[in-house]
């Protein structure tokens, strides 16, 4: 092997270092080796870097780091100096370490990408000598990216002496990758098995190479046992890949479903319970998002130290503002249109235009930025390489909380009781002394307020602009219609189902086609099950024809 000379020299110098502790000769020997890094030719420089790797001498690490960071200097005699990271005069790295370069004329080694590429794994290898567990782990990860065959032995030694289990495992996996190239079939077989055990999906291509047929029709891997082990490993990898994908789609589907749910829940109340087609519903989402933005601005100006908690204040405020706007609309316009759904549809569309234009004139037509608080940024690594963003996780829980809130109001409060009574039999409720006008206003306010909460969530996921709501109105109606008008549980199932189906379709067909597919599916679904969704059977169904 190429590195044999280097290793023996290293062993030699290490022995010397132990025997003659601090002896000048040893120092000079090591210095001489280091000083090969001061050569002018880049070809030779690369060779020297590789040799340093083979020597696996941690003393070379400062030199290599300085080289990488362009801090290394060389004088005419080939001695090495480095400018400290914090700047200042170049200090000697070899004889009389720390001694300033003085008046000597220093040369800056020329770097190119080839040199840098050769530096990367060698530095990582030397970092494996670090006392810091974190550094060693990071170095192992770095080495694993492009394992270099010629570093097999030093990596093997590092693995032997490694005490941290995670790092040790990572190194072992690198060794296994390298051992796939071994001449010994049993070594290769063991390597395949170790890779299979690791379940590391990024190693799949290596196994695929083994079972692939070469151009001449022969297998790349001559040994049948190794091939069948690789095949078995690939099988389990495929299953694992599928599971990981499924988990990812499920999560992002649930996340999208939660957003849809937040957008549609308010509509399920105004449309489902009251029968009001509120085309301005999307604008309630938009107002909620702008309320969040305004709260953020206030915090930035008046309480920048607690900026992280602006969302906590935004939630009730967004609910309050949108509920108020909703009640105002109900009192001023919608009240006069009960029983005329198509007219309601057009009038509320007009309202939505006015709301959009008002926001555009007061906040500007451009998108505004609503920043995630620090506790919402970042994510959790659930599986290897699968990171679930915190904001999306929180929104799933937020949606659940909003659902619980709505359920409590509808099922456990006086208002909810009255809403249910008015929904089922308006005239009977009125004759029992329930003020149906007041119930209508409050119900509409509730639905709008819920949309405002949805707006808070949306502000954390994407752009906030005057037309934010327009993108959600079609989806929201679809969710309500899919889940069954007047059934909150149906809305939940509809929203989550739609979100998950959407995310599972996306990788197959692309985002836009997936979306179109979902819309077409919905239209067809409505064809198939119109009774189940639209008309309650029996006499109640009569009212549906009267629009």
């Amino acid at each position: 092997m190429k590195g044999a000379g280097g290793v023996s020299r290293w062993v030699f110098s290490a022995c010397m270092a132990v025997l003659v502790c601090g002896a000048a000769a040893a120092v000079r020997g090591a210095d001489a080796e280091l000083e090969t890094l001061g050569v002018k030719s880049r070809k030779q420089l690369i060779r020297a870097v590789v040799a340093a790797g083979h020597r696996d001498d941690p003393a070379a690490l400062p030199v290599l780091e300085a080289l990488r960071e362009r801090r290394l200097r060389v004088d005419e005699t080939g001695r090495l100096y480095a400018i400290p990271p914090e700047g200042g005069a170049a200090l000697s790295l070899t004889r009389g370490a720390g001694e300033p370069a003085g008046e000597r004329s220093l040369r800056k080694p020329r770097l190119n990408n080839l040199v840098r590429r050769s530096l990367q794994p060698v530095i990582a290898l030397l970092e494996l000598h670090s006392d810091d567990r974190e550094v060693r782990y990071a170095a192992a990860q770095q080495l694993g990216k492009y394992p270099r065959e010629d570093l097999l032995e030093p990596i093997g030694r590092a693995q032997q002496r490694e005490t941290d289990p995670a790092t040790r495992e990572a190194l072992d996996l690198i060794l296994a990758q390298l051992q796939l190239k071994s001449d010994d079939a049993s070594v290769r077989l063991a390597a395949v098995e170790r890779i299979a055990d690791s379940g590391d999906l990024s190693l799949q291509p290596l196994l695929e190479e083994l079972v692939a047929l070469g151009d001449d029709g022969s297998f790349a891997e001559p040994d049948a046992r190794v091939r069948s082990a690789a095949k078995a490993a690939l099988g389990s990898f495929a299953l694992e890949q599928w599971l990981v994908d499924a988990a990812k789609h499920l999560f992002y589907g649930l996340s999208l479903g939660s957003v849809l749910l937040l957008a549609a829940l308010g509509l399920a109340i105004t449309f489902g319970l009251m029968g009001v087609i509120n085309m301005a519903h999307g604008e309630m989402l938009m107002l909620g998002a702008y309320a969040t933005y305004s709260v953020q601005l206030l915090f930035q100006s008046y309480a920048p130290e607690s900026l992280d908690y602006y969302l906590v204040a935004a939630v009730p405020l967004a609910f309050g503002v949108t509920a108020l706007v909703g009640m105002l609309l109900e009192r001023s316009v919608i009240r006069f249109l009960y029983g005329r759904p198509l007219e309601t549809l057009l009038a509320t569309w007009g309202i939505s235009l006015i709301l959009i234009q008002t926001v555009r004139l007061s906040f500007g037509a451009q998108n505004v930025t609503v920043a995630n608080p620090t506790w919402l940024s970042g994510g959790f690594e659930i599986l290897d390489g699968v990171v679930f963003p915190t904001s999306r996780i929180v929104i799933i829980f937020f949606a659940a909380a909003v659902v619980a809130f709505v359920w409590l109001i509808i099922q456990r409060t006086r208002l909810g009781l009255e809403v249910r009574a008015v929904t089922q039999n308006r005239s009977m409720a009125a004759s029992l002394g329930i003020s149906t006008d007041r119930v209508d206003t409050l119900t509409f306010g509730l639905g709008s307020g819920i949309a405002g909460l949805g707006g808070v969530a949306l502000s954390q996921l994407g752009n906030v602009g005057p037309e934010l709501g327009q993108a959600y109105i079609v989806d929201s109606f679809m969710v309500v219609v899919l889940g069954g008008v007047g059934k909150l549980a149906g809305t939940i199932v509809g929203a989550l189902g739609l979100g998950v189906v959407n995310k599972f379709l996306e990788p197959v067909s692309g985002a836009v086609l997936g979306k179109i597919g979902v819309l077409v599916f919905l239209i067809l679904f409505i064809q198939r099950r119109p009774e189940g969704i639209f008309a309650q059977r029996g006499r109640a169904a009569e009212q549906n024809g009267q629009s």
């Binding site: 198509l342 109606f477 086609l513």
Partner: protein, 364 residues
């Protein structure tokens, strides 16, 4: 409602329509081409274009009014039919550019840009004007037929129908936004040069397109007038007012709705086909849900259940839009929004409906 008066004042409305058409068809070319540009009565080119566009909008309004005002089916997706008609003619106009495009290629520029090597199969035949015009009517008709067949079979009506038509136009818009769909994606089809050999920018071509549009408007008006005056029209209005009674009288409600719906879509396609050569561009934004809802407000303003109403509504709303977007652009959406609210609250029968009922009131 206006049924009795519509039947009785029938002969007069026919004469009135032809008279107005004659004025529009003679006066505009005369004032535009016949007078010198510095003459105070000269009609500038941009107004000719505007009037031509209005004629197309009026056809759309007529189509929406037919299905909404007479059959009681509110569509929030007629923008799709309009756009499909427009795309069909747009494809002809793209093909007739020939090799004069930016890339000097036989293929439309956007295909060259996307590095396509040959024409997709569904672009075949569109070099012929007749075929393109046929497709401008047939494709919207077919789409409407299939969609309507499914929807009416399942007895989807009222707001549910309105909502799924909105979903339809939304889905179609997403579809046409994709580059791979093959209709120019985001930018749509544009940079047209010639129509049937005439240069589109010539004032004479403009006038020709204007005349074609008002003639089509007259034709559509007369056609709709015949349909709503026939027994079929009475069945349609009966469906609007008491659908179950019509079913129990032995009429297959679905096929009546489907007929009106498909006819309406075909008229819309025609309007789109006339519109695109005049404005010189067709892109997916025509399929925005907002556009389709605006069509409904033209009809609501003018008056449902009449044929003149939608035309009047289209002219008034679009006239106001043209004025506001120049003079007070920020105020336009407020005006439109208030129009939506005001008409539904205070003028449920629209302008023509209110005029007619006043007329009837004085008579009896």
């Amino acid at each position: 409602m206006t049924t009795g008066s519509a039947a009785q004042s029938g002969s007069r409305s026919w004469l009135l329509a032809v008279g107005l058409f004659a004025i529009a068809a003679i006066a505009v070319p005369l004032l535009n081409l016949g007078l010198a540009e510095d003459s105070p009565l000269h009609l500038p080119d941009y107004l000719v274009l505007l009037l031509g566009k209005f004629a197309c909008y009026a056809i759309v309004a007529l189509a929406v009014g037919l299905i909404w005002g007479y059959a009681g089916v509110l569509s929030l997706g007629h923008g799709v039919f309009f756009a499909l008609g427009g795309y069909a003619i747009g494809m002809y106009l793209m093909r007739s550019i020939g090799t004069e495009g930016v890339y000097k290629s036989e293929l439309p520029d956007f295909m060259v840009f996307l590095d396509w090597k040959e024409l997709p199969w569904y672009w075949y035949g569109f070099q012929h004007f007749g075929f393109a015009l046929f497709m401008a009517l047939a494709v919207p008709g077919l789409v409407a037929f299939v969609f309507g067949f499914l929807a009416f079979r399942s007895r989807i009506r009222g707001v549910y129908f309105a909502i799924i038509t909105q979903a339809m136009t939304y889905a179609a818009m997403l579809m046409f936004f994709r580059n791979n769909t093959g209709f120019g994606g985001n930018n749509g089809l544009t940079d047209f040069k010639r129509l049937l050999g005439f240069t589109l920018r010539d004032p004479e071509t403009r006038i020709g397109l204007y005349l074609a549009s008002v003639t089509a408007l007259l034709g559509c008006f007369l056609l709709c007038r015949y349909v709503v005056g026939s027994r079929l029209g009475r069945v349609l209005r009966a469906v609007r007012d008491a659908e179950s009674r019509v079913m129990f009288s032995g009429y297959d409600v679905r096929s009546y709705k489907l007929f009106a719906w498909t006819l309406s879509a075909v008229l819309c396609g025609l309007a789109g086909a006339l519109y695109v050569p005049q404005v010189g561009i067709i892109n997916p934004s025509e399929m925005q849900p907002a556009n389709s809802i605006e069509m409904a407000i033209w009809v609501a303003v003018g008056g449902r259940g009449t044929l003149a109403g939608p035309i009047v509504g289209a002219l008034i709303v679009n006239g106001a839009k043209s004025w506001f977007t120049v003079a007070l652009p920020d105020a336009w959406l407020y005006v439109l929004g208030l129009l939506f609210i005001g008409v539904t609250l205070f003028l449920p029968r629209g302008i023509m409906g209110s005029l007619l009922s006043k007329h009837e009131g004085t008579r009896t």
